[in-house]
Amino acid sequence: MTLMQHLLKGFWKENPIFVIALGLCPALAVSSSLVNAVGMGIAATFVLLGSNIIVSLMRKIVPKKIRIPIFIVIIATFVTIIDKLIAAFSPSLSASLGIFIPLIVVNCVILGRAESFASKNGPMDSIMDALGMGAGFTIALIMIAFFRELLGEGKLFGYAIPFFNSDPALIMIMAPGGFIVFGLLIALKRHMEAKGDAR
């Protein structure tokens, strides 16, 4: 695969949320509003980039049998360092992104990409993979959040939308709404792919 393909596969074909179905816990937790979805997407992409680069650079010296604990140590260290640096040098960024960082620690997309991609590919490919997967993660969150915020609160990016905000269905911003939208979106994606294959 070329660099471009590594970048693009995460957007749709191997989308981490809709296809690989990793990182669902943080994804469903924060996809109740578009602002949170974008924040989480950016924070996760950044961490993914860092962890992919480090894991890719270390892939030749890490003993195969104990690679998972080592990746976990690397990722946890990286996330903690980022968290501290943001809190110290950019309090305003920390105020808006700070709540997502503890959620990233439990985001298995990060470990998933470290294990299945970065540990087998060079740094350049891994960077592209991280950017693509990060973007795919963000796109998926935005898609889920779009429906949840619109239907559950009658708003988009915090701005009230006429008609929808007269009597919003609160269940959509709660956990069940997350699962419902998520399931319907996967079904839609499958349907589109099935149609594409038939042609």
Binding site: N36, V62, K65, I66, I70, K84
Partner: protein, 206 residues
Amino acid sequence: MKDMIKMGLFLFVVAAVAGVLLAITEDITAPKIAANKKALLEQARKEVLPVASKFSQNEHKTDDKANAVSFSAGFTESGEMAGVVLNVYPKGYAGPIEMVVGLDPQGKITGVKILSQKETPGLGTKLSDPVFMEPFKKLLSSKEKPVFMVKQDGGDVDAITAATISSRAFCAGIRNSLDLYNLIKPQLSSLTPPQALPASTTGGIK
């Protein structure tokens, strides 16, 4: 066997490097984070007790050391007692909610601000949004003695939909601050404004 020792050593080295890196980061960032927090607290004090321009750091001594209350008293430019600012930490949905509450000398709440919280993003975090804060402020100004409980529990506070636990915690924090206020009330009249010390040099509340 030899393989096992080699792997153990490798893991040890990785963990040691990670530990060193974390220690260095902590060393560099800890004072800055503390300073940021202090600045935030000072700003919050001014927000919840707008009439005060000077703050002192006080402690209410009790026989029982564990129950000592630390608070800061606010004074106007002319040195008049303007009220107190209290920190309370009610238990929220996912950890303590750090709240700053300002009260005037009559014990009426002048302002509330949330410094930090670990509530669910998008639900409980709305505590610090205008959606929740504006109706709460209205309640403070419209009712003489509001009952600080959520409406489901028979109080006057509108809970956030889908975040009743967070809303309850907020109310508990308010009630706690009123209790603390009554505790320190007898001491208030004897307090004097800090001597020429700007608010920034008095110690922060931890």
